[in-house]
Structures are given as C-alpha cells and as structure tokens.
C-alpha cells in the first residue's frame, strides 16, 4: 500500500531516534519516509525511543525485533505502520515482553548473542580456550595474515544492523579490526502465496517488479502494451530508481557518518516521494489524467534541483573520494565472470543495462552511467548520477505520453521480460500454470546476479579495516530479499 508523503515536521523539531524495522530505506520505498514522520534511525536499540514496525514482520527480522525491543530503554513505545509484506503479526512479537525477566532466561543461553549485533564471540573464545587450558599462554591455530596466531572475533551483523538493510545478515570474522572473512546473506523472501496475491518478490523495488510482472502477463496473453502505458511504466520505474538511489545514499551517509550527505539525500527523497507514488498508481492502472500529469511534471521539475545538488555534490566531493576510492573494488573480470548487472557492473565499466536498445529509452535520450574503477567510489558516483538522470527520464516520459507514437517495431525476441531495476536486472516470464491468480498464468521471476553480488561483496572487503569494510559492503546496495526463481 502506497501512502503519500506525510507533512514534514517543523524544522525546529529534532528527529526522534527510533528502531525502524526493517530499515529506513524499506519504508521510504513503501511510501512512508520515517524522517518525514519525525523519526530517524537510532544507532542501536539502547538509543531508540520508539520502535516502528510493519503490521506483519518477516522472519528472521521478527525474532531480531523481539530481542531488540527488550533492549530498548523503558518506556518502550512501538507503532505499527501498514505495509504490504508478509510475516509474523506485529502484536505476536510482544507477547511476553513484560520486562527484562521474561527474556533474560532466553538470552542467558546465548551468552552475548544479540538481536542487533549477534555476538558469538564469547562462545567461540571459550571453545577455543578449552582446547589448551593446560597452557594458558598458547593459542593454537592457523596464523593470521600477519603471521601470528590470533583468536578471531567472529560475529554476525544484522538482521537489524544500523545503516544496513533490515534482513541482511553479515557474518564477519575479524583479526583484530581487520576483516578476515565476510559473508553477507539475504535472509528475507516473499512467499509464493504472497506473490500470487500481487506482492513484489523484492519489496524494495515494487514498481520495477510490478512493471516486469505486468508486461510479462501482457506478453504471454499476446497483447502488447500501448505506448502510453509503457511510458507510464517507464516513468514509474525511473522515479523509483531515483528514489531508491537517494534513499541508498542517505543510508550510505549514515554508514559513513556524513551528515551532509544525509541532508542532501533527504531533500531529494522528500521531493521524490509524491511523484513516485502518483506514477506507481498511474502505471498500475494504466491511466494518468491530464491534470495529474501536469502535477507530476511540476513535482519532478521541483525535485530535479534537489537531486542535481545531491549528484553534483557527490561527483565533485573530495571527501567522498578520500573515503571510498580504491575500497571494496571488484574488477571488470570478476563482474564479467559473475555475470553481474546493475550499478555494480556499470561501476566496473561493463555496459550492462536492460534499458539499452529499448526504442522508448533511446527516444528519451538514455545513456548508461559508467565508471571504470569498480570501487565504492565508482558505485556511489554511478548511483548519484543515475538518480539525476532518472528524474529527467521520468519527467520526459510523462511529458511525452500522448504524443505521436514513434513507429518503432518492438522486437520481442525472447518471451521473458527484463526490466532494469535499481539494483540490477529483473526478469519475469509468464507461463501457463494451474490455478493461481488472473488467467491461470504463473509468473516465474528471477533476479539474475543478486546472489553473485552478495558473494563478490563479501570477498571484496577481506583485509580491510572493519569500518572501511562495512562502508564497502554498504556501497553495494545489497537487497536483503532473495528472489527464488
């Protein structure tokens, strides 16, 4: 359910630190920006005055939320916001959370394990210690990177780690403060039943998935969509891309501890919330009234300077370069080998974009944003520039609706629809299925390259200091949702 932007709080009021489940970016993509409602993500449950969660909380975020709730300082307030994801009902999470007593027994068995930053540290340390308690001074094992045998610090970050998408779990093994091993995992999944009911496989990109599913259905039914409808979808997709990149930039600013980036991104987000909501509704119903069209165009015109400031602020920024250049690099060969798409591939110099070759996009003057280095800096620049380009694309697409359709032959080579989502290509194929929704069609979905991206991201931050590594992981804009084919 897409809710329009809420009235901004007066600038004189500070934002309440809140534990936002799953995270700020998800709520922004679901139509309700927490900052617009006066809440900012708290660094941890201990600093949070409020808990914000959806009506249904997907596992394993649900158990993490229940654990984090107990760690919040009293009075523990929570508010439930509507969202279209499945999972455990929110009120079931707090059944026995009457205070410390109920949960301390549960947490005693997991010494040091936390919902927020799960710590297996004490378990591992004790386990290793038992091997050589006859000689307290010797630590046996494999030598670490600098030749000494060290005890590694092993723990899991997530699924509710601040700065990272809710549901993303990052297993880390540290040698001191240098990362030895890093394995991010996407732990959330939309069940097939929910998908039948129209939920997006990855709720962080609802327009992109709605577009791919709708076009796949139309293609299977043999009814090619009208140009106007396609332009509406393009406008919705591009406005969502701009919003997604701006929301990611805000989260990245939080990871980098950079208030200025957070503010720049926030002004872009605030400006994009409404036009994107309008365009999503219009594309889904294939209708945009003339008055609404003029409104959307003017809203996008207003959004453009804010996103332009964000993009040029990042492009010229020496601080960004100092902080992200050369970190978490993935090479051109690695990207080719993993067949990645999306901004991560484009940042490594690979022109992989489902929008290339599309006649409508060509008519809009679309050019892919490319960078060569494949590092965190390149990925940030690619997304910042894409955000800006997307606002213009969306605006032009809306303006051109109803204009004389160019006589282009839409060549339908394959029957699967590929749409370029904010994080990479999305693929949908409608096949005849038995039962299910509309017309007995079953839509098979895939997000090619997303699993490989997780692996590459983990591999790219080995031997980096922890803070640098976390910023490197954040620079990949990983989605915590797995799309099961």
């Amino acid at each position: 359910m897409v809710v329009g932007e809420h009235p901004r709080r007066r600038r004189s009021q500070a934002l309440t630190p809140a534990l936002i489940v799953p995270d700020e970016l998800a709520w922004t993509m679901w139509g309700r920006d927490p900052r617009g409602s006066g809440f900012a993500a708290a660094p941890g449950p201990e600093a949070a005055r409020q808990l914000i969660l959806p009506e249904r909380v997907p596992e394993p975020v649900a158990s993490a939320t229940a654990e984090a709730f107990v760690r919040m300082p009293p009075p523990r307030r929570y508010s439930v916001w509507p969202a279209g994801v499945g999972g455990v009902p929110a009120d079931e999470l707090f059944g026995d959370a009457t205070g410390e007593g109920g949960h301390s027994d549960a947490s005693h068995g997991h010494d040091g394990r936390e919902g927020d930053h799960g710590g297996h540290d004490e378990h591992d340390a004790r386990a290793r210690g038992e091997h050589d308690h006859h000689d307290m001074m010797a630590i046996v094992g494999e030598a670490s990177a600098d030749g000494l045998v060290m005890e590694a610090i092993e723990f899991e970050l997530g699924p509710l780690a601040s700065g990272f998408p809710g549901g993303l779990v990052i297993e880390l093994s540290l040698d001191g403060d240098v990362v030895e091993r890093c394995e991010p995992r996407a732990t959330l999944e939309t069940s097939p039943e929910h998908r039948m009911r129209g939920a997006a496989p990855d709720p962080l990109a609802p327009s992109a998935w709605a577009m791919s599913v709708a076009l796949a259905r139309q293609r299977a039914a043999g009814a090619p969509p009208a140009e106007a409808a396609l332009r509406l979808w393009i406008a919705a997709l591009e406005s969502e891309r701009a919003l997604s990149h701006a929301a990611w930039l805000r989260a990245f600013g939080l990871v980098l501890g950079w208030e200025r980036l957070v503010e720049l991104a926030q002004s872009g987000i605030t400006a994009l919330m409404r036009p994107r909501a309008v365009l999503l509704g219009a594309a889904a119903s294939s209708r945009l009234a003339d008055g609404a069209r003029a409104d959307v165009v003017s809203m996008l015109d207003t959004a453009l300077p804010a996103v332009e400031r964000l993009s040029s602020g990042m492009t010229g920024s020496r601080s960004l370069r100092a902080r992200t250049a050369g970190r978490a690099s993935v090479s051109w060969e690695q990207v080719q080998g993993a067949r990645l798409g999306g901004p991560a591939a484009r940042a490594a110099g690979i022109e992989h974009d489902a929008r290339l070759g599309d006649p409508l996009y060509e008519a809009l003057g679309y050019q892919p944003e490319l960078e060569a280095d494949g590092d965190a800096h390149a990925r940030t620049l690619v997304r910042a520039r894409e955000a800006r380009a997307s606002v213009e694309l969306a605006r032009d697409a809306v303006v051109e609706i109803g204009e004389e359709a160019s006589a282009t032959e839409r060549h339908e080579a394959a029957s699967a629809v590929t749409v370029e989502g904010p994080r990479g290509p999305l693929r949908a194929l409608a096949v005849d299925g038995d039962g299910g929704a509309s017309g007995g069609l079953e839509v098979l979905v895939a997000s090619p390259g997303s699993r490989e991206l997780l692996e590459l991201a983990g591999a790219s931050v080995v031997d980096l200091e922890l803070g640098t590594a976390l910023a490197g992981i954040a620079s990949f804009d990983l989605s915590p949702w797995t799309v099961a084919p």
């Binding site: 600038r11 004189s12 009021q13 500070a14 660094p43 941890g44 201990e46 600093a47 760690r71 300082p73 009293p74 410390e100 301390s104 947490s107 005693h108 040091g112 936390e114 927020d116 930053h117 710590g119 540290d121 004490e122 610090i153 723990f155 780690a161 601040s162 700065g163 540290l174 001191g176 403060d177 600013g253 939080l254 990871v255 980098l256 501890g257 950079w258 208030e259 200025r260 980036l261 601080s319 960004l320 100092a322 902080r323 200091e465 922890l466 803070g467 640098t468 976390l470 910023a471």
Partner: protein, 302 residues
C-alpha cells in the same frame, strides 16, 4: 593559586554543556528548544536503571564516571577571565592534556564492559588513535607556551594581548584543533561510537543515566577543548569594548560552533588513514611547530 572553587567549575561545566547542546541544535539548523531538552534530561534521570547482562560491572559502571571526571578536570584548566582562571596551575596547559588522558581508559572500559564485539572494537580503536592524537596536542601546547615562557594558561593568554597565537603560530593552531576534536570523539572523529558503522560502538550498551553521563561528559570535553583553543590560540579574554568573560565566552562559542559545523560537513575519518596521517604527518609537523615557536620567541617575544 586557584581562584576558582570546585563548585564554580562544576557550574561552568553544567551550564556550558547545556549551552553546547543548544549550539548543536542551532548548527543543525534547528531552533534550540531548551524546554524540550530539559524535559528530555529529566526523563532520562527518571528512567529505571536498565543494566544488561554484563560481566565487568566495575568497568561498565565506572567508565561514564571516569569519563566525566576527566572531562571536568580538563575543563578546570581553562582560564575564563582574569578573575576566574580555573585551577590555575603553573603547568596548567600540559595538565589539560594529562587530564584528557583519562578519556582513553574510560572509553576502553566502556567498550570492554559492554561486552559486545563491536563495543570492544570501538574501545580499542580509540586506544590505537589516542597515542596519535595526544602528541600533536602536547606539542602544540608546548609551542603555544614557548613565547610566554610559561605553561600557565592565564599567562599564555596574557602574552596574546597584541597578536593571537593562531596568527603567530598557524601550524600549531592547525594541529591543535583537529587533535583536540579527536580526543573529544566528536564528528568527524567519532570512531569509538561510530553510529551507523559500529552501531554505537563503545557506548552502545548504555541507556538512561549512563548514556546521559556519557553525553554530558562529551559536551564538557568539547567545552574544555573550545575554551582551551580560545585561551591558547585566539587571545582568550583580550578584545575591545566587551568585558573579558564575554569575549572568552564568544570565542569559545565560535570555536565550538566551528567544530560542530565541521563535524556535519565531513564524513567520519577512517581509522587506517587517521593513524597513518597522524604518525607520518601530524607529529613531524608538530615538531616543526615547536621549532617555529622557538624561532618566533627569540625574534619577537624577547
């Protein structure tokens, strides 16, 4: 001979911390709301003491207290006016950095007492960095004290009646300000707590009164840092027309505002970069600053 009672220093600490909180809001572009802040502070005091399952109770409870003690002690070295010079020791400027040394064990105690991997990482990050910060501070202070032939902050202020030390010794000034900001672990040097990265880091396990004391201590540290910068480098209470204490307050506020503003504009400093920049560039530069101080002392101040 000290001419400031401990109660006066505590009063300066508390009211200054409050003023600093208002300044933080103002720098963030929001109208400071003292009423809301006071209500928030009272609410924090009324929260029941929630203590997580901790193994090192002494460290956990002692860290905020030690942090506050170190902060107040550092603040006590700052001279605010000719009639209110703080503790006014003959080696006050160096004692300032000695008091700041308490911040390191306090932060590590907080991290270790918190017991989480990320809290411990936050703690030992600060140990790795503090060595790097402390030397430029001490050397810059020595450089500032050289023309005055004294380490008494009030005398260093007096020697600046004509020219502020920031103009006479720009290198020492440029080294002192970031180093002292880093000791206060404020942005962009908030590596021990690193919200968004370490999720609160060394202080992540503190709520309620403990968290309140930590943030009070940090504000007192910033107040002391700004005050000492104003005293050692910006001419302290010297200035036309306005009374001495007002000048000192204005300069302190200006320095604090500049520190807070810089914190918003810049991303968090990265640990490897910060350590290498400090050891490879800041410390040699600080030695150069001392040499420069010697030169100008001989040429101008004698």
């Amino acid at each position: 001979m000290s001419n400031a009672s401990p109660f006066a220093i505590l009063l300066v600490a508390l009211s200054g911390a409050f003023a600093l909180a208002c300044l933080e809001q103002a720098v963030a572009g929001r109208l400071p709301s003292p009423a809301a802040m006071a209500r928030g502070a009272l609410g924090t005091l009324r929260e029941p003491l929630a203590v997580p399952q901790i193994k090192d109770a002494w460290l956990y409870h002692g860290a905020p207290v030690l942090l506050l003690l170190g902060a107040v002690l550092a603040l006590a070295m700052v001279p605010w006016a000719p009639g209110f010079r703080g503790l006014d020791f003959g080696t006050g400027a160096i004692l300032y950095s000695a008091a700041l040394a308490y911040v390191t064990p306090a932060i590590f105690m907080a991290g270790w007492g918190g017991g989480r991997p990320l809290a411990v990482v936050g703690g030992f990050r600060f140990i790795a960095l503090m060595l790097a910060y402390e030397m430029p501070v001490v050397m810059a202070v020595t450089a500032a004290g050289a023309p005055a032939a004294s380490l008494r902050p009030a005398e260093i202020v007096d020697i600046q009646h004509a020219v502020p030390m920031a103009l006479a010794q720009p290198l020492a000034f440029a080294l002192f300000v970031p180093a002292v900001m880093a000791i206060c672990f404020i942005r962009p040097f908030d590596l021990p707590q690193a919200p968004g990265e370490l999720g609160g880091g060394a202080f992540s396990s503190y709520t309620g009164v403990h968290a309140g004391i930590v943030s009070l201590a940090q504000r007192v540290l910033v107040l002391g840092a700004a005050g000492m910068t104003a005293a050692l480098f910006l001419g302290g209470w010297h200035g036309p027309l306005l009374p001495d204490a007002v000048w000192m307050a204005l300069k302190t506020a200006a320095v604090a505002a500049a520190m807070l503003w810089a914190g918003r504009r810049l991303p968090r400093a990265e640990l490897p970069w910060l350590v290498s920049a400090t050891w490879k560039y800041a410390i040699p530069a600080a030695i150069l600053a001392i040499v420069w101080a010697g030169l100008i002392t001989v040429v101008f101040y004698r």
